[in-house]
């Protein structure tokens, strides 16, 4: 299983969702995408939005000053 990484730190809402979606389109269904996002609005919004769109949020890991979101592409 492949894991792809994308750094979306510094990208505000909702553009980070657009970019996360574009990155997800590039991974195969079933594979995993790791997204680095900022604290605050991004970590509050992005997991919810991606979950609502049918993607599987595997885990959210707090790093120093940001978060790493692991998502499995379901659609």
């Amino acid at each position: 299983m492949l894991t792809t990484k994308v750094d979306l730190r510094g990208v505000p809402c909702p553009l980070n969702l657009v970019k996360a979606k574009l990155a997800l389109e590039k991974v195969a269904v079933g594979d995993i995408l790791e997204i680095e996002i900022d604290d605050g609005e991004p970590i509050r919004n992005l997991p919810v939005s991606l979950g609502r769109q049918g993607q599987e949020i595997l885990e959210t890991v707090e790093q120093q000053g940001y978060f790493c979101l692991r998502i499995r592409r379901r659609l």
């Binding site: 909702p14 553009l15 969702l17 657009v18 979606k21 574009l22 389109e25 769109q53 049918g54 659609l75």
Partner: protein, 271 residues
């Protein structure tokens, strides 16, 4: 093809939609739509398709902008009066979205020129204002097998239907031929609520986008009618007819022919 940073921002509200995404946006950018008629229906269709990022938009109209057009033909502005309609519309499309390639066809649609134009496009919007043009577009799209959206308006009423030639009901399945000469008044004499073509033309643009992306259910085999006075939308089932003179098994129309002039025939008329 991959989207630029500017395109990601410009089309972000499209991309975010599950049914479109980045792949869908790229598809739109590589699609070609022809708009026949740059009047009340063609105006909103041109503006919305340009904004959506349809990569190539063909504009076909042999007319020039008249002051009486401005009440409803929102792609044309006051300073455009007297200009060619294709040039006027082209400048607005370019101003909204420089990504769009505009192909101008400054001619009236005729049997001897329309097929070769239509075959260059993925989808056609019939935004014309007269019956000879509507039959001509229907027939040409049938012979070229290009899907199109029929739209029509008068006074407070509008209608539209999407046609996938050879698969779904065509315009002639519903209306086999021209109505008698004096039964339908042209818009200049009957009047039209300015916002009415805005509603129908926008719905035609919606159908174009759906068809290009292959999403949702097209408005085929049914005619959607709209009344501005009562705010009733009605979807009237209208399947293919075996007696259709164009797409039925015993078709009598086998070549493209003009059924009359597609521009208004009355001298001095500005409809």
């Amino acid at each position: 093809m991959s989207l630029t940073e500017e395109q990601i921002q410009r089309y972000s509200r499209n991309i975010i939609l599950e049914q479109i995404g980045g792949a869908g946006q790229e598809k739109l950018l590589s699609s070609k739509v022809l708009i026949v008629g740059l009047g009340g229906l063609g105006s909103p269709a041109a503006l919305y398709l340009a904004a959506a990022g349809v990569g190539t938009i063909g504009l076909l109209d042999g007319d020039q902008v008249d002051l009486t057009n401005l009440q409803r033909q929102i792609v044309h502005h006051t300073r455009d009066v007297g200009k060619r309609k294709v040039a006027s519309a082209r400048s607005k499309i370019k101003a909204i979205n420089p990504d769009v390639t505009v192909r101008s066809h400054d001619v009236w649609a005729r049997a001897d020129n329309i097929r070769e134009i239509i075959r260059e496009y993925d989808f056609v919007i019939d935004a014309t204002d007269n019956f000879p043009a509507k039959f001509l577009i229907n027939d040409a799209c049938y012979f070229e097998r290009v899907a199109f959206s029929h739209g029509g308006i008068l006074q407070f009423e509008g209608q539209l239907m999407t046609v996938i030639p050879g698969e779904t009901a065509c315009y002639r399945c519903l209306f086999p031929g021209l109505p008698p000469g004096d039964t339908v008044a042209p818009c200049g004499q009957a009047g039209v609520l300015g916002v009415l073509p805005g509603v129908i033309g926008s719905l035609q643009a919606t159908e174009a986008i759906k068809q290009l992306l292959g999403i949702g259910e097209p408005l085929t085999d049914s005619l959607l009618t709209y009344s501005a006075l009562t705010m009733d939308f009605r979807k009237v089932p209208a399947g293919r007819r075996s007696e259709c003179p164009l797409c039925g098994p015993n078709a009598t129309i086998t070549t493209l022919m003009d059924e009359g002039r597609v521009s208004c025939q009355r001298k001095g008329c500005k409809c």
